[in-house]
């Protein structure tokens, strides 16, 4: 391969900036959500003891970062001149014509993650126990996101993408399987507290 002229680099990639942004944001969202699922499963299982408050803050921050990256992933497509997607195309499942099934899987996964993630802030309204049961479906939404990225993602066949994904998604899948195979979550009442409070020393 010959040396690449920087001007040619810029000319070649300039019309695709929105598309590149969307792909990069999607990749970031996938990695962040995998990390968030890992932390969530570590918190809920019997694997990590202690540091609960820190893990909860980390889980929350990773989840919010995932939602931000997912918004960027979808909204950047609106500016892409090749796809010419409308807001409805990227927000309503089974509406767009481009790889409808895979795209719809991603859209459904996004709405599920958004609803289940933000429901944390309203868990007092419908009960913590009910919220915790509902929150388990986040893992399903994450799996849908994985399916979307591997089925539709332009970079799904690239080694760098698969390596990055494997580094975070495989541990999360392992933890998820471990949870599903019977290790029950630790019952705790601290989840009902909106802000973690350190206990007073006796």
């Amino acid at each position: 391969m010959h040396a690449i002229d920087p001007n040619t680099l810029a000319t070649a990639a300039a019309p695709h900036l929105f598309w590149i942004t969307s792909r990069a944001a999607g990749t970031a969202a996938l990695l962040l959500s995998s990390l968030s699922v890992c932390v969530g499963l570590l918190m809920g299982g019997r694997i990590v003891k202690g540091h609960r408050a820190e893990l909860r803050v980390l889980h929350e921050a990773l989840s919010l970062a995932t939602l931000g990256a997912l918004l960027a992933h979808g909204l950047a497509l609106l500016g892409d001149g090749y796809l010419n997607a409308s807001l409805a195309n990227i927000a309503v499942p089974f509406l767009g014509s481009y790889r409808t099934l895979w795209t719809s899987t991603g859209i459904i996964a996004f709405w599920a993650l958004l609803a289940l993630g933000l429901s944390y802030y309203a868990r007092g309204r419908f009960g913590v126990a009910r919220w915790r049961k509902l929150h388990r479906f986040t893992a399903l939404a994450w799996v849908l996101g994985l399916v979307h990225s591997l089925g539709e993602g332009t970079d799904a066949g690239q080694i760098w993408f698969l390596a990055m994904l494997a580094a975070v998604a495989l541990p999360a899948l392992g933890l998820l399987v471990n949870r599903l195979l019977g290790s029950a979550p630790i019952p705790r009442s601290a989840d009902s507290a909106p802000i973690p409070r350190p206990s007073v020393a006796r």
Partner: protein
């Protein structure tokens, strides 16, 4: 335990709680900042990889487009090469491109030609 001793003990506990709360608040702040940094780093890394990949002519979608165009051009110019091009066209159709519309594919071919130029 005398009343004054209990009061000072309560004060100590309150002070300790305040210190611990403050420490937790700072830890939470550090964690949030680290996650924000991680998000930015992940996005920037992925963006750079995709950008360089695309600009150097190795993007999976655009190389598929270029292959399609080459195949179409070949089939238009000669009958002999049309058999060859249909083979590469069928190969290219298995890959994905985001271009869907008429104008989109025109623009896409412009971008992809710049990509293939940079390769040669």
């Amino acid at each position: 335990m005398t009343r004054s001793a209990r009061t000072s003990g309560q004060l100590d506990a309150k002070a300790l709680a305040r210190v611990r709360r403050e420490a937790m608040r700072q830890r939470a702040h550090r964690i949030r900042r680290a996650v924000a940094g991680l998000t930015a780093a992940l996005f920037a890394t992925a963006f750079l990889i995709i950008y360089v990949q695309l600009a150097s002519g190795h993007d999976p979608a655009l190389t598929a487009n270029a292959a399609k165009r080459r195949a179409a051009a070949a089939s238009a110019t000669s009958v002999e090469s049309s058999t060859e091009s249909s083979a590469s066209s069928s190969e290219a159709s298995t890959r994905e491109s985001p271009a869907t519309g008429e104008s989109a594919s025109e623009e896409s071919s412009g971008g992809a030609s710049a990509v293939t130029t940079s390769q040669s």
